[in-house]
């Protein structure tokens, strides 16, 4: 039995540690780890149920600490597992703010299917909120813009890739070519800067 060489809850804790230590935006969903923890929970639970019934039948008080201990282990497993999921939730939310309503392909691979659903639903409610936040003006307020206090109206940017034409609010069309530098209104190019197409130079 492997459980004799391993402490309860170790796997669940590993899940959390790994997530915490990873340097990626979001590491791949640890399908295997989650399943192992769930199995452990189930195993502990079944053992407890079996012993609880024998405890009820015999009234043997010596079983009591063991039952309590298992229950604590079970709670801990559950807590670690949910903390793992919650932290991923948090990072997925951050993705929405950073990249907008579409998940970049390489990150999408790290998510499991319920997580993608979560992202889409979150994105939808956020968009709905932003639309209604314009009140009766019919103008949605994009909360993902204006992330930093404005220091100046215009910023100097360098173009990191060939983006093509970009039309400003006043109708002026700018050709964004790789390595070209521009002096543009901050509000309108902020999202491009965040996507990494433009690079803000001091």
């Amino acid at each position: 039995m492997s459980r004799q060489t391993k402490m309860f809850g170790e796997k669940a804790f590993d899940l959390l540690k790994e997530l915490e230590r990873s340097s990626q935006t979001i590491p791949a969903f640890d399908d295997d780890g989650v399943r192992q923890v769930l199995e452990e929970i189930k195993a502990i639970f079944e053992e407890n149920v079996a012993q609880a019934s024998s405890y009820n039948a015999s009234g043997d008080r010596s079983l009591w600490p063991l039952l309590n201990f298992r229950h604590a282990a079970l709670q801990r497993n559950k807590r670690c597992l949910l903390a793992y999921l919650y932290e991923r939730c948090r990072r997925i939310k951050a993705l929405r703010w950073e990249f907008g309503p579409i998940i970049p392909g390489d990150i999408k691979q790290a998510l499991c299917e319920p997580e993608v659903t979560f992202f889409n639903n979150y994105s939808k409610s956020l968009a709905a909120y932003m639309c209604s936040a314009g009140y009766n003006q019919g103008l949605p307020i994009d909360l993902t813009n204006n992330l930093r206090p404005p220091k100046s109206l215009y910023i100097e940017v360098r173009c990191m890739e060939d983006y093509g034409k970009f039309e400003l609010d006043d109708g002026e069309v700018i050709h964004l070519k790789k390595n070209s530098q521009h002096y543009l209104p901050r509000a309108q190019v902020e999202s491009l800067v965040r996507q990494g197409i433009l690079h803000h130079i001091a």
Binding site: V34, L38, I41, K42, F45, E46, L74, K78, L81, L82, L85, Y86, C89, K93, C112, P114, E115, T117, F118, N121, Y122, S125, L126, A128, Y129, S132, A133, G134, Y135, N136, Q137, L139, I141, D142, L143, N145, N146, R148, P149, P150, S152, L153, D170, R186, A187
Partner: protein
């Protein structure tokens, strides 16, 4: 605060243009203060919201006024020469206002996301006039809560033994209301109870204090003090 809310919107729109000096300078002093006041209220609400551990009553009316003012100012800016010095100043000011509003709403959303269930429970026990969330925020909170629950259920809880599934109330995150905040008294407040042993402190107008949030929460809501 209430006297500002009663001002008809059309009047306020005139204020903005006057206050901003986009039109002829025939401004009325009273009106100018009103436009300024809305911004001031929003600014205070924003700072309070950023500093307070719990969610504060939403300033829906003020935001609504501000949004329409911003829209109105934008309209007027369009007629202005782009290289006019005033245009630059005004659009900078607009940017700042927009940032404050966006940051204010973001901050509230963040609190809603963190304390979802706690806030929803509290809202339920409040009278309709007393609600802290705007209808849009309530909707967002509910959607968010069910969203997270659904995700937890799909990935984990549905595979757990029956008795372990519930206990959702154990997962409720509550803000720490006893965390210390910096605050400034707007008016003189006598005999504020601080600490557990009913110790009292008189706050002079304009004085600054560090104090656990819960003890002064009502002062902030009555606008007798503000967080800094």
């Amino acid at each position: 605060m209430s006297d500002v809310e009663d001002v008809p919107e059309t009047q306020l729109e005139i204020d903005v243009s006057d206050g901003a000096g986009l039109e002829d300078e025939d401004d009325d002093d009273m009106e100018q203060i009103t436009a300024q006041k809305v911004l001031e209220i929003i600014e205070t609400a924003w700072i309070n919201e950023m500093c307070a551990p719990e969610i504060l009553p939403s300033q829906t009316d003020m935001l609504e006024l501000m949004v329409s003012q911003v829209a109105h100012m934008e309209e007027q800016m369009r007629d202005l020469d782009k290289n006019d010095f005033r245009a630059v100043v005004h659009s900078m000011e607009l940017e700042r206002v927009r940032y404050i509003m966006a940051s204010y709403m973001r901050c509230r959303l963040q609190k809603i996301e963190t304390f979802t269930q706690h806030i929803l429970n509290q809202e339920e026990s409040r009278e309709p006039d007393d609600k802290r969330l705007s209808p849009e925020e309530t909707k967002f909170a509910q959607e968010f809560a069910s969203n997270v629950d659904e995700y937890f259920h799909k990935v984990a809880t549905q595979y757990m033994p029956n008795q372990q599934r519930g206990e959702a109330d154990q997962r409720i995150v509550t803000p720490n209301l006893m965390s210390h905040v910096f605050l400034k008294a707007n008016v003189a407040v006598p005999a504020v109870i601080v600490g557990v042993d009913d110790e009292e402190v008189d706050m002079a107008a304009g004085s600054q204090h560090i104090i656990p949030y819960q003890l002064v929460a009502d002062l902030i809501q009555n606008n007798q003090a503000q967080l800094i």
